[in-house]
Point group: C2
Chain length 284, copies 2
């Protein structure tokens, strides 16, 4: 891949900061500009080596960009993409890192300039932590990045978007925004809510007796409630579907346990276990 | 602590094997005898350094023991404890490592000899893996071990049991069998079922898009279904109570999301997050 010119990152938190660190560590761009609303956070990002330059002026930040990556909360992304498209040069590639896709893509499709400059993306990497202080240059190594191009996405722009995300270490997958949101509701969005629900039933007094099942099962309950409320609301339909499927599983379990039906319990668990083993043994 | 004489371990899997390795690594016992029904597994345990000697004869295995640790599945523990008490020398300390306590203790209380030699224990350490090949000498380092002595437990026996589990690295906590089972239903037993229920809703096709929330949220679904069906059935009442509390949490979440009530979603998550943060930041 040829070296990029200026890359602008809108929102320099965990994800935006990791993109900046990765671009700089690999010397993939001539410069990385951080755009944000909070000067103190931008200063920190610069100090931590995530960006070369910083600005709180979105129009100036994207004025010379070859690529703009929008890493703001999902409820802000469509607005920020449209603004970046409006102020960016002709030919700029605008992409994002949002955890939901359908609502964002629909809002951008309505804007003729933006939809011709935008390729929706979701690099599946992150943590329950937020903030540039947890950014890592290798955050995207080997991680899936889902692109959800639409019919109006220019083919050459899609090629550039693939190349950009691959250069950060991602494996590229492409699907519709709706297929992405349905899958992520099951693999990520609803599991975050589950972790919070589990954390909610364990009283403080029982925590000294908690072990690995609690630790891992509730880890992502420590994530930012505002960010996650946004994601869940953006993907409301698919998350409610996942919740319904989960309730069916829980009902099966509850019935088998109430009936003291050991055979049914084992069969239920065995089916779940077989799926989990396909995901792979991660040594944890 | 003075060095122990013979320690017999009934059931040399992950937990029994780790106890053996810990005793041997710290030279806490003059010899460690493994007792099991499967000669091949005993041979493996011996090869892996978890035990000094092995036998498939429970009576012979405990005949000279100063301490017997019963590490069989929870549905077998009461029978194995009574057998160890029957064949062990006067003054032997019999303890166990079962994940449930009330049903086991009740079954042993009915046996006059056994209840005078037994202190129920649950070292809270483990893994979704089973088998002596995953045993580790440091498995118990810093982990809680719950003792649930009854009114008939001789005080000197309780002192020896505390000392034994402390020597393996455990922090000792004491409570009633019922309090143990209620707490563990919330912190471990029900969370295992939750992990299986979550694994059950994610189709194979979505696994390439699964990240950390899925990985950690489903990890313990890989545990042995037969062992876990046993634990859930032994602790049926408390697990069903935990399931009911969890359903209430899920209902609160579902209502807030259905209503698109962002404030309620955030408040719900924030309460769960505050509890999780009390557990501590484990760097994962």
């Amino acid at each position: 891949m040829e070296r990029l010119g200026t890359v602008a990152i809108i929102g320099v938190g965990l994800i935006g900061g990791s993109i900046g660190q990765s671009l700089r560590a690999r010397k993939l761009a001539s410069r990385v500009v951080g755009v944000g609303r909070d000067q103190a956070k931008l200063d920190k990002a610069q100090r931590l080596g995530a960006i070369d330059l910083a600005t709180t002026d979105p129009a100036r930040g994207v004025a010379e960009a070859e690529v703009v990556v929008v890493c703001t909360p999902v409820t802000r992304i469509a607005v920020d993409v449209r603004q970046a498209a409006a102020h960016g040069p002709n030919g700029v590639l605008v992409t994002d890192a949002g955890s939901t896709k359908a609502a964002i893509v629909a809002a951008i499709e309505a804007d003729v300039r933006a939809r011709n400059l935008f390729v929706a993306a979701h690099p599946i990497a992150g943590s329950e932590r937020s903030g540039v202080e947890h950014a890592r240059a290798d955050l995207f190594d080997g991680r899936a990045c889902v692109l959800t191009p639409g019919e109006s996405t220019p083919p050459d722009l899609l090629i550039r978007a693939r190349s950009f995300w691959q250069s950060l270490g991602c494996r590229i997958t492409e699907m519709t925004p709706e297929a992405h949101d349905a899958a992520l509701a099951l693999t990520s969005h609803f599991p975050h809510a589950l972790a919070a629900a589990l954390a909610g039933i364990v009283p403080t007094s029982a925590l000294p007796l908690a072990g690995g099942a609690y630790r891992d099962g509730t880890r992502v309950a420590a994530a930012d409630p505002v960010l996650w409320a946004g994601i869940l609301l953006e993907n409301q339909g698919a998350v409610l579907d996942a919740c319904a499927a989960f309730r069916d599983q829980l009902d099966t379990f509850h019935q088998a346990l109430s009936d003291r039906d050991e055979r049914a319990l084992i069969a239920w668990w065995e089916a779940a276990r077989a799926r989990r083993l396909l995901f792979g043994n991660d040594g944890s």
